[in-house]
Point group: C2
Chain length 135, copies 2
Amino acid sequence: MEEAGIRATTHRLAVLRILGSASSPMSAQEVFDALQACRSINRVTVYRILESLVEGGVVDKISAGDRSFRYGLAPNENHPQHAHFYCRLCGLMACLPPESLPLPSRSSSSMMPGIVEKCEIRLDGVCHHCRLRHP
Amino acid sequence: MEEAGIRATTHRLAVLRILGSASSPMSAQEVFDALQACRSINRVTVYRILESLVEGGVVDKISAGDRSFRYGLAPNENHPQHAHFYCRLCGLMACLPPESLPLPSRSSSSMMPGIVEKCEIRLDGVCHHCRLRHP
DNA sequence: CTGAAAAATGCAAATGAGTTGCATGAAGCG
DNA sequence: CGCTTCATGCAACTCATTTGCATTTTTCAG
């Protein structure tokens, strides 16, 4: 974290720990709730911490299908980039196995309308859990 | 449009004409502005028309990288599904050539966390225009 | 150490795309 | 014609996120 030029405060480490132990990317609200469970923190601070971590490349920010974001540890050599599944009923965002997703060929970036900084692949639908509950 | 179970009112046809002549997917606000240019219409009506058209499968609704949506004609046999480029500075959303994007293999949908209804692929970055203006 | 400068946090209020409730108007249909 | 359904308008609301500003807390030169 320090190496990303970000001071390691208690709050920030807690955010990283929470994101690191999550099985899917979390919303800012979920991170906030998880933090509230043991410490007092302001909602805005959570947003700002997430912003810093994203800025520092430690955390990945991806768009859900509902006009909100999810945060998770940034991909690295152990955790390759991957696509996500979004359930439009419950808002769950699940990670998909990386091998199932051919990342777009960096084909002739000269043909791109600009400099590409990141790529998001999201499959939208209804998760099994919701499908059984709302038939 | 009728075949999609949607009454063809003047407003709705106008929305379709605007989306059909756009070179990239438009925001609801852009559609609204374009409509205002020649007729009087309410902002909410635009949202509801877009919603109907999406519901009827005539129009495609995709998420931009900034917590808002863009609307365009739905893919069909002439216009295959494709990825989009989003400029984080100006909000431009450009269509990418379909051949540059291997759509995710519908690999073993049994492994998916649910029923997949649609897929969005978005490349985020800075468009050439903005890169030259904000160096 | 000490004290100014920088960064982090909290609190309240704002932002802005999108949505909802309810009233009015237009279209279909017997 | 009268009734039901759908489409539009208007005002107010929602809600994730952001901003402004005051208040710690940390850093670092002297």
